[in-house]
């Protein structure tokens, strides 16, 4: 089956192209079917390939497939090739699996929307690009997927194009991530120039051979790649686009801005870990960025009233955990968390979508309340998702993955301990902010009458994801609880092993922090509460630390100002001056051309007199 690997990204692409060509001609039912089925088929194929891969692993756990030679010029060559190894396998399964569930959800969620076919065309395009990103065997193809998902994100954030605010959010997302992408692009240039290859595996091999640990060039390359990663993964300092991206349809938020695209940065760093291992400074920065982001986002999430923005900040925060894990070298843990996060965050977004679709797209949590009885399906799935997000000990997938990260940090020396502390504070915050949302939304007094049943296309994904959010963590269980290492065994050929921690202290502390957060949330928000007062502190966290304000002042406004002021191109005025001077001289000189014969004769005479004078006198 492995030889059909190329079909995995191609199937969604075919779906996308079919939908684009058929735009306006396909019925809603047909469009939804094409959209969901193309991803579903890709998922089935991916799982079949995975089964084959696990039962009968290829040599070195790597399966390489070259589709065609892309370019070969001036000593630089790139193939359009796919590479299946455990890392990309995990990513591929998450993308196609979660992606299919979200597509299924969306077929019902988006019903009746204008541009239904376009929605699925873009969603399929996104899935195809994301699959290319994770399956690419060289940087150029990776970058193609990388930009492709950015495009998909742009198109889908701005899906409801009639509202200019959506367009602004979409452009912001694209441009902010593009800043990171440009860093990545420069990283590619650096790697290609110095290592002479675009193939990721070869480049990593050359790098370890030719660059010593801590060499400036390796550090620079790692930092440039990191720039790309923080852009895509919405980490400091390029995190500002993600909360705004929530204006897109909720399935989009679930798929792109929670489960898959935003984790591309994590994937990139994991994929190029060899380079980061050569650059300890960059790796430490990854951890610090992760720690800082998870705290910033955690606090910010507490100051939000919009359910999707709460989830957006929690996504930033959770990806911060993954970065933290990468920074301390807990590679498996990062990927583990990536996977479980995809499950529970998709679940959270989809259940949030299920709620808002019954509330006429009202997203303010203070206008909800008491929904637990009205919308039980949404309630239970949101509750399970929240529990997993808050890492409720033992019974959720989030607990195991977060525990893996924190124990990895605990083992990582002094800097690791500091990051661990940040992680524990973050765990506390997570419990607090998400259960704040749970209590406000589902308990307390009801606002208006809400009802409605969900079709199977909504309930099935919620059910499957709920199960995964609970049980998905059992593939990797720490030593104290039974020591299951399915995932790290699988990833062993591609990612360096993590130190095992048998100390139970960090685990207990982290669990306590999470429970404390939940308890505190229950204490404050069990009873109906008022909308929080707009204190300066609240405003500060509501604006997520004022980064938007800062960037507006420092970057956006000066550029806009320059563009507006100079829209007539001051260089042209230089040429205008030449033209003006010519005209002015013309105005003067034309007076001599007054049409009078005698005047001309006089001119002739003066000229003759002068000429003869010159001839005579000189």
């Amino acid at each position: 089956m492995r030889e059909f690997l190329w079909l995995v990204p191609l199937l969604p692409l075919i779906g996308s192209v079919t939908l684009m060509l058929g735009a306006g001609r396909l019925t809603m039912r047909l469009a939804g079917t094409i959209g969901a089925v193309s991803v579903g088929l890709a998922a089935i194929l991916a799982f079949t390939i995975a089964a084959g891969f696990l039962t009968n692993p290829p040599a070195g756990s790597v399966y390489q497939q070259t589709l065609w030679h892309w370019l070969n010029v001036g000593g630089v060559s790139a193939t359009f090739g796919l590479r299946l190894d455990p890392l990309s396998l995990v990513m591929m399964l998450v993308i196609t699996g979660v992606g299919f569930l979200i597509h299924l959800f969306a077929t019902e969620y988006m019903e009746g929307e204008d541009g239904y076919g376009r929605f699925f065309a873009h969603l399929n395009l996104f899935v195809a690009a994301m699959l290319l990103l994770v399956l690419a065997d060289n940087f150029l193809a990776l970058y193609t997927g990388w930009e492709g998902v950015g495009l998909g994100s742009y198109l889908l954030i701005g899906f409801w194009w009639r509202d200019p605010a959506n367009g602004l959010a979409a452009r912001k997302a694209f441009i902010v991530t593009r800043i990171g992408d440009t860093a990545l692009f420069l990283g590619l240039l650096l790697i290609t120039s110095h290592l002479g290859t675009l193939n990721i595996a070869d480049a990593m091999q050359h790098a370890t051979q030719s660059w010593p640990i801590g060499s400036p060039i390796a550090t620079l390359a790692a930092f440039l790649l990191l720039g790309g990663a923080v852009g895509k993964s919405a980490q400091l300092p390029l995190q500002t686009w993600l909360p705004d991206a929530m204006v897109g349809p909720t399935p989009v938020s679930a798929l792109i801005h929670a489960a898959t695209m935003v984790t591309a940065g994590v994937y990139l760093i994991a994929r190029t870990h060899a380079l980061f291992l050569l650059a300890p400074a960059a790796l430490l920065t990854v951890g610090i960025i992760g720690g800082a982001t998870l705290l910033l986002a955690g606090f910010s999430a507490l100051a939000q009233n919009d359910i999707k923005r709460i989830l957006a900040y929690s996504t930033m925060s959770q990806i911060g955990y993954m970065f933290l894990a990468l920074g301390v070298g807990a590679w498996d843990a990062a990927l583990f968390h990536l996977m479980t996060h995809a499950f529970f965050k998709a679940l959270l977004f989809l259940s949030a979508g299920a709620i808002t679709m019954r509330l006429h797209h009202e997203q303010d949590i203070f206008k909800m309340g008491g929904l637990a009885r009205r919308l039980p399906v949404a309630f239970w799935s949101f509750l399970i998702g929240s529990a997993a997000l808050a890492a409720l000990p033992l019974v959720t997938a989030g607990f195991y993955s977060k525990e893996a990260i924190l124990s990895g940090a605990w083992a990582g020396g002094t800097s690791g301990r500091v990051l661990w502390l940040a992680g524990v504070v973050g765990a506390f915050m997570t419990g607090l902010y998400i259960f704040r949302a749970v209590f406000i939304v589902f308990f307390g007094e009801e606002h208006g009458h809400v009802s409605g049943r969900y079709g199977w296309r909504i309930t099935t994904p919620l059910a499957v994801l709920s199960v995964l959010a609970v049980l998905g963590g059992l593939i990797e269980v720490p030593p104290v609880f039974g020591h299951v290492t399915l995932l790290s065994n699988l990833l062993a050929p591609v990612l360096p092993a993590t130190k095992e921690v048998t100390d139970i202290t960090p685990l207990l502390l982290a669990s306590l922090a999470a429970l404390l957060g939940i308890a505190l949330a229950a204490l404050f928000y069990w009873r109906p509460t008022q909308r929080p007062a707009e204190t300066p502190l609240w405003r500060f966290w509501h604006a997520a630390g004022g980064f938007d304000w800062l960037y507006n002042r420092v970057l956006v406004r000066p550029v806009l100002w320059a563009a507006r002021v100079n829209s007539d191109d001051f260089i042209d005025s230089f040429y205008d001056v030449i033209a003006w001077a010519t005209k002015a001289i013309h105005q003067q000189v034309r007076r001599t051309q007054n049409g009078r014969v005698r005047w001309y004769t006089a001119g002739l005479a003066i000229g003759s007199v002068s000429l003869i004078a010159i001839a005579v006198l000189l």
Partner: protein, 510 residues
């Protein structure tokens, strides 16, 4: 002889189209299509490896040649040579010419015969520029392509067309004069050192002269080509010319005429004056980078859609300038791809703006918005090509920019880093165009006016074809690389400074 036919067919076709214009307006259109199709087939037949025999040593890249004495007393000959570089650009020229005819079918209804004559003659001039190796002949074609273009703008243009046409003419003509002076001085210098009076490019290669003289001559050529490219600060004619020109004029201007500037830089400036050009390279590359960013900023500030696209064109040509003066295989191959991709994507954008203007009678983006609802196909293609022009991987522009920057990275890291900011800037203006024109609320006046009709079948076919071409360039550019490789290798060989290997050049970068 094939090369002569390549020139004669559109040249004579233009005259025939003119005469046929009096009989029926569709006749010149059909004639122009037929002529360009035949020319395209002839050009296609030339694709292939270089000739091995009967070519001077060291110049084994020529695919075809034609040489006859013209004014032997002055050392001028009718000398046409074709290598892969010229061939690729000629194919682009003819293809875009063909498309220009198709998209002018409904737009141009006045003096149809003369319009197509001018269009075909302009194409003829450009093909001549790409073929001529005698400097006199080159200059002849260089001027020849301007005149029909002037008339295209002045006679069939939009508001301010005379202003724009004259500005265009003065800029290109004035810079052409500098080149003529440089050509003549070069010929005289060559005569003084060798006693041989000739305008033959191949003979003039490697003329010995003192560095100051070489620098000034190089500058004369450089300015002529930089104006045509156009490079900042010589770019100000372009937005005006584009805004005023009819759609076909814009397509030809952006798609083809600008390429002659880049071609001239590659073919003449560097090989004829290797040392001077390499000493000048850091400054030229800096100009390129300034152009990328400055034009992007300008594009962002425009309300007129066509001006936005025009400035984006200037920005893209900044990459070309950067790539040419990086002067290594990667960058030059990138320049070729960038030229082709830019010709296609910007041409397509101009076609769309023209189609839009035909439908809603404005190019002012303040009066647009929400067009996606009324004309989805046009809007979708607008978005596709806007995204292509911001350099999305998988489409041709990306390959061009990637190779150019990879090439310039070997030469000057700081410049490359600054140039890369252009990728962000490109995204900013391209998406702004999409937002202001196609997304957002429908402009108020749309409610009362009749609903504009979407793209018609010929336009859709053209758009689809252009998109597929971009996709092809983006996903499988290797055939282009292979076709131009030999030609570029020779040019590069000629353009290597005598003082040492190219590594010295790297150190000269600021």
């Amino acid at each position: 002889m094939t090369l002569v036919w390549l020139l004669l067919i559109p040249g004579i076709g233009g005259a025939v189209a003119w005469m046929a214009g009096g009989r029926h307006p569709n006749l010149p259109r059909r004639i122009a299509l037929a002529v360009l199709a035949i020319d395209f087939i002839i050009a296609l037949s030339l694709i292939g490896p270089a000739m091995s025999s009967a070519i001077p040593a060291g110049h084994a890249a020529w695919i075809a040649s034609f040489e006859r004495p013209w004014i032997p007393q002055l050392g001028i000959s009718f000398e046409l040579y074709l290598d892969g570089l010229s061939l690729v650009l000629i194919l682009l020229t003819i293809a875009l010419g063909f498309i220009s005819v198709v998209i002018s079918w409904t737009e141009i209804t006045d003096r149809v015969g003369l319009f197509h004559a001018n269009l075909l003659w302009s194409v003829t001039g450009v093909i001549g520029v790409f073929l001529a190796l005698d400097l006199f002949l080159f200059f002849f074609f260089w001027e020849l392509m301007l005149v029909p273009m002037y008339f295209l703008i002045a006679l069939w243009g939009h508001e301010h067309r005379f202003y724009a046409a004259i500005k265009f003419f003065i800029f290109t003509q004035g810079s052409g004069l500098l080149m003529l002076v440089a050509i003549l001085v070069l010929v005289f210098v060559h005569q003084q050192t060798t006693g041989h009076f000739t305008f033959d490019y191949l003979a003039l290669l490697g003329t010995k002269m003192n560095p100051t003289m070489a620098f000034w001559l190089m500058l004369g050529f450089f300015i002529a080509f930089a104006v045509k490219l156009p490079a900042v600060p010589f770019h100000t004619w372009l937005p005006d010319a584009h805004t005023a020109a009819p759609t076909a004029g814009s397509v030809l201007l952006a798609g083809i005429l600008l390429k002659t500037g880049a071609y001239g830089l590659i073919r003449f400036v560097v090989p004829l004056f290797p040392d001077a050009a390499h000493a000048f390279a850091p400054y030229a590359m800096t100009l390129g980078v300034i152009g990328i960013l400055y034009a992007a900023l300008l594009a962002y500030g425009q309300n007129d859609m066509k001006r936005l696209v025009a400035y984006s064109s200037v920005s893209h040509m900044g990459f070309v300038l950067l790539g040419v003066f990086a002067w290594n295989t990667l960058a030059l191959q990138g320049v070729v791809i960038q030229m082709l991709a830019h010709g296609v994507s910007t041409g397509a954008l101009f076609i769309l703006v023209g189609a839009l203007q035909e439908r809603i009678h404005t190019r002012d983006m303040r009066q647009m918005g929400g067009l996606w609802g009324s004309i989805p196909h046009l809007s979708a293609f607008g978005m596709v090509f806007a995204i292509a022009s911001l350099g999305l991987p998988g489409l041709g522009n990306f390959i061009g920019e990637f190779l150019i920057l990879l090439g310039s990275f070997q030469v000057g890291v700081p410049l490359t880093v600054i140039a890369a900011i252009g990728l962000v800037a490109g995204a900013a203006y391209a998406l702004l165009l999409v937002q202001r024109a196609f997304h957002g609320n429908a402009a108020p006046h749309d409610e009362t006016a009749a609903k504009p009709c979407d793209l018609t079948a010929p336009h859709l076919l053209v758009m689809a074809g252009l998109f597929l071409a971009l996709l092809g360039l983006g996903l499988y550019p290797q055939p282009v690389f292979d076709q131009v490789a030999a030609g570029l290798a020779v040019v590069q060989h000629d353009g290597t400074p005598s003082t040492g290997p190219t590594t010295q050049f790297a150190e000269a970068t600021p």
